[in-house]
């Protein structure tokens, strides 16, 4: 009983227990102790700020411990791990809290329910991944009518229609990033067939990228065809699909992908069939999963695009905070969280460091960087 897991210890500390109750909780059995333990566990699982929420922070005045709700479409996807770290770090800085909820499998109804619950719970701000053009309009309107600021992150409806009246979008320009993906590919390919893989076609957080890529190819005027191919949200199945496609279509000029899983699988397929020796001119994709970075290092992939998920958690917190702090006068702004190409030249630090900011480590630390910054 003396060896408590630090998480439990920490959770216990958050409960207002006198010494007797605490001792009984640690020693006791039975329903009372079990329910106390359950409450402690729940309390430990909600993100409570350790900084003094009541006191003023830096130059900011004292504010209540505001609560922001992030509604995500794939809550357990590792892509969003750095996003959660970003939100957490921002909350700790400002003395506020966040909750990470939504749907596990992109079920829009679940996300709508989570948004409605946040409104009923009188959240102080909502960050929402708008993966559907029509379903979120009413919930967001309801939130705004209730005086709750709403920003979108990671996805913002369709290209021509953000689908909601959110105050701003914080994330990568999806269509633009797809366009850049295509444009960069065109630098290495003058003619032929290019296959662009997408895990879940139609989904509004990645479909615009394919649209952008295909448009880039069209705009170039070059005799290059870009075919969109659906893979799968499940990476292992996606790998089999890409593998089969490559076998069935010899002499492809380029392989592109617009999501993390497909990109990783493309890299693995290129390596498996040594496609670079067989006339493949270009291979590229999105996001920085370890396999992708390794493929870049080895040359199987030419480039990948980082959308900096950490910022997609960090910046919304600040946007929502400043809005409330200033009484609505500091309005959230459209923020592009970046479109950075990671290539063989600059992949080393990404691979080498395990940091919280890429999601590969939990410990906050200062990552050293020296030397000139590459530029065109």
């Amino acid at each position: 009983m003396n060896h408590l897991h630090p998480a439990v210890e920490q959770a216990l500390d958050t409960l207002p227990l006198n010494r007797l109750t605490r001792r009984r909780l640690l020693r006791g059995t039975g329903l009372a102790s079990a329910s106390l333990a359950a409450s402690a566990l729940i309390a430990g699982c909600t993100d409570k700020p350790t900084a003094s929420a009541a006191g003023a922070i830096g130059n900011f005045p004292k504010t209540p411990s505001w609560k922001y709700v992030f509604v995500c479409h794939v809550t357990t996807n590792p892509f969003f791990t750095p996003t959660q770290y970003g939100a957490e770090d921002a909350c700790k800085l400002l003395g506020v809290q966040y909750q990470w909820t939504g749907s596990v499998n992109s079920v829009v109804a679940e996300m709508v329910d989570a948004t409605n619950t946040a409104v009923s719970a009188k959240a102080d701000g909502i960050a929402l991944a708008v993966v559907d053009k029509a379903a979120f309009r009413a919930p967001v309107d309801k939130a705004l009518d209730a005086g709750i600021p709403v920003v979108s992150f990671n996805a913002d409806g369709a290209r021509d229609d953000p689908g909601t009246n959110r105050l701003a979008y914080i994330g990568q320009g999806l269509y633009e990033s797809g366009y850049e993906l295509g444009r960069r590919a065109l630098a290495q390919v003058a003619s032929g067939d290019v296959a662009a893989f997408i895990a879940t076609p139609g989904q509004l957080n990645i479909q615009p990228r394919i649209d952008g890529a295909q448009q880039a190819f069209k705009d170039s005027g070059k005799p290059v065809t870009c075919t969109a191919v659906a893979t799968n949200a499940d990476i292992t199945q996606g790998l089999s699909i890409i593998d089969a496609y490559v076998q069935g279509h010899q002499n492809l000029a380029g392989l592109l992908a617009v999501d993390a899983g497909s990109t990783q699988s493309v890299g693995q397929t290129v390596a498996k069939y040594k496609l670079r020796d067989k006339g493949l001119k270009v291979a590229g994709g999105f996001d920085l999963v370890p396999e992708t970075l390794a493929a870049i290092k080895s040359g199987d992939l030419d480039y990948t695009i980082d959308q900096q998920p950490y910022l997609q958690g960090f910046l919304p917190v600040f946007a929502l905070y400043l809005y409330k702090l200033s009484g609505g006068l500091l309005f959230p702004t459209q923020t592009n969280t970046g479109l950075l190409f990671v290539t063989k030249d600059n992949v080393d630090p990404y691979q080498g460091s395990k940091t919280r900011y890429e999601g590969s480590d939990t410990a906050p630390k200062l990552v050293d960087r020296s030397g000139p910054i590459p530029h065109a």
Binding site: V107, V108, T117, S120, A121, A134, A135, G202
Partner: protein
């Protein structure tokens, strides 16, 4: 011999009266899950006072209603001794069927809805015939149907979400799920109707017989295949209705609502938590509604408290187990009291 002795003439001490009332209540199959539900409501109200606000109750109602409707059908099918794991896909496909009818074939809104329900009934018919005529276990039949429907859904829709057709907007949409309490009203009506069907009609009686003693029911002359097929069709139609209502509620037709198996398993869980036996032969429709309410309250309550996604599943799993154990314990009390 009855376990309740009545002393006529003498006045009963209040304790005995209370004990009799408690026994009568506990004897009902739904009692245990109701106790659990009330316990949870009390817990969450204490934990976050906004739990019982109209706003939040509406959220709970909207989360409960559609899956509860599916659970009603699942109860009938489970009681008759079969299972259907494709119903989530029917729920996902039905709005698309309506959309195709309206936008591709120019069918008017209400007939399109009826058509979607009719096609779903045919899916249930197929499930039933394959299970009863070809003797394929229903789990396998509906598993195959699940993938078949998934494939149809994906190839015809290209997995794109679709807007609710213009023709269906307006009053139809409001009545079928758009209005705030619409889904709850439908749910309560369906639960009430089918609870009566299960307990007070021939169909219900025969369903119980088929599930409780298939051999015996056959010998008594009951058309067991007809009962099973009918219940398969019931599940599919209710699933389609739930899918249509969800689409109208969130104002979008989402291919993911089949969610893999979210609706299906939640509906089955609700039925089982509510007191329906997985093995067949006994079940309660009202219990399934309460069971679904328990699941929705868990989901909503923990969300309100602020539990984040990753630990959420830990809590939800533990809570379901705890609810079920409490349920079993109370059921045992009930049985012991009845003997």
């Amino acid at each position: 011999m009855s376990d309740v002795t009545v002393r006529t003439g003498a006045r009963q001490p209040p304790g005995a009266l209370l004990r009799r009332a408690r026994d009568a209540f506990l004897r009902r199959r739904e009692a245990s899950v109701l106790v659990v539900a009330i316990g949870l409501v009390v817990y969450f109200q204490v934990a976050t006072p906004i739990f019982l606000t109209t706003d939040n109750l509406r959220n709970i109602a909207q989360a409960t209603a559609p899956t509860a409707i599916v659970a009603v059908g699942i109860v009938f099918l489970l009681v008759s001794g079969e299972i259907d794991i494709s119903v989530g896909m029917v729920a996902a496909l039905a709005p698309y069927l309506m959309h195709y009818a309206i936008d591709l074939y120019g069918v008017a809104a209400v007939p399109a809805v009826v058509l979607a329900l009719a096609i779903s009934a045919l899916i249930g018919l197929a499930n039933g015939l394959i299970t009863t005529r070809l003797r394929v276990p229903s789990f396998v039949t509906t598993l195959g149907m699940f993938y078949l429907l998934y494939g149809i859904l994906l190839t015809t829709s290209h997995a794109y979400p679709v807007a609710v057709p213009e023709a269906a907007k307006g009053r139809l949409q409001a009545w079928l799920g758009g209005a705030d309490w619409a889904t709850l009203i439908w749910c309560l009506a369906i639960v009430a109707t089918f609870h009566i069907v299960l307990t007070r009609t021939r169909w219900g009686l025969h369903t119980i017989s088929v599930g409780g003693n298939l051999h015996g029911a056959t010998e008594a002359g009951i058309r067991v295949n007809r009962i099973k097929v009918g219940n398969f069709m019931l599940v599919s139609v209710l699933g389609a209705l739930a899918g249509l209502m969800e689409a109208f509620r969130i104002n979008s037709i989402d291919p993911n609502i089949g969610g893999g198996t979210r609706i299906t398993f939640t509906a089955i869980a609700a039925a089982v938590i509510g007191g329906t036996a997985l093995a067949g032969g006994s079940g309660t429709v009202a219990g399934a509604l309460i069971g679904m309410f328990v699941l929705a309250v868990l989901q909503n309550g923990f969300n309100l408290i602020g539990v984040s996604a990753n630990p959420f599943f830990l809590i939800q799993g533990a809570a379901i187990l705890f609810s079920m154990i409490a349920n079993q314990y109370l059921s045992r009390l009930r049985r012991r009291g009845g003997n």
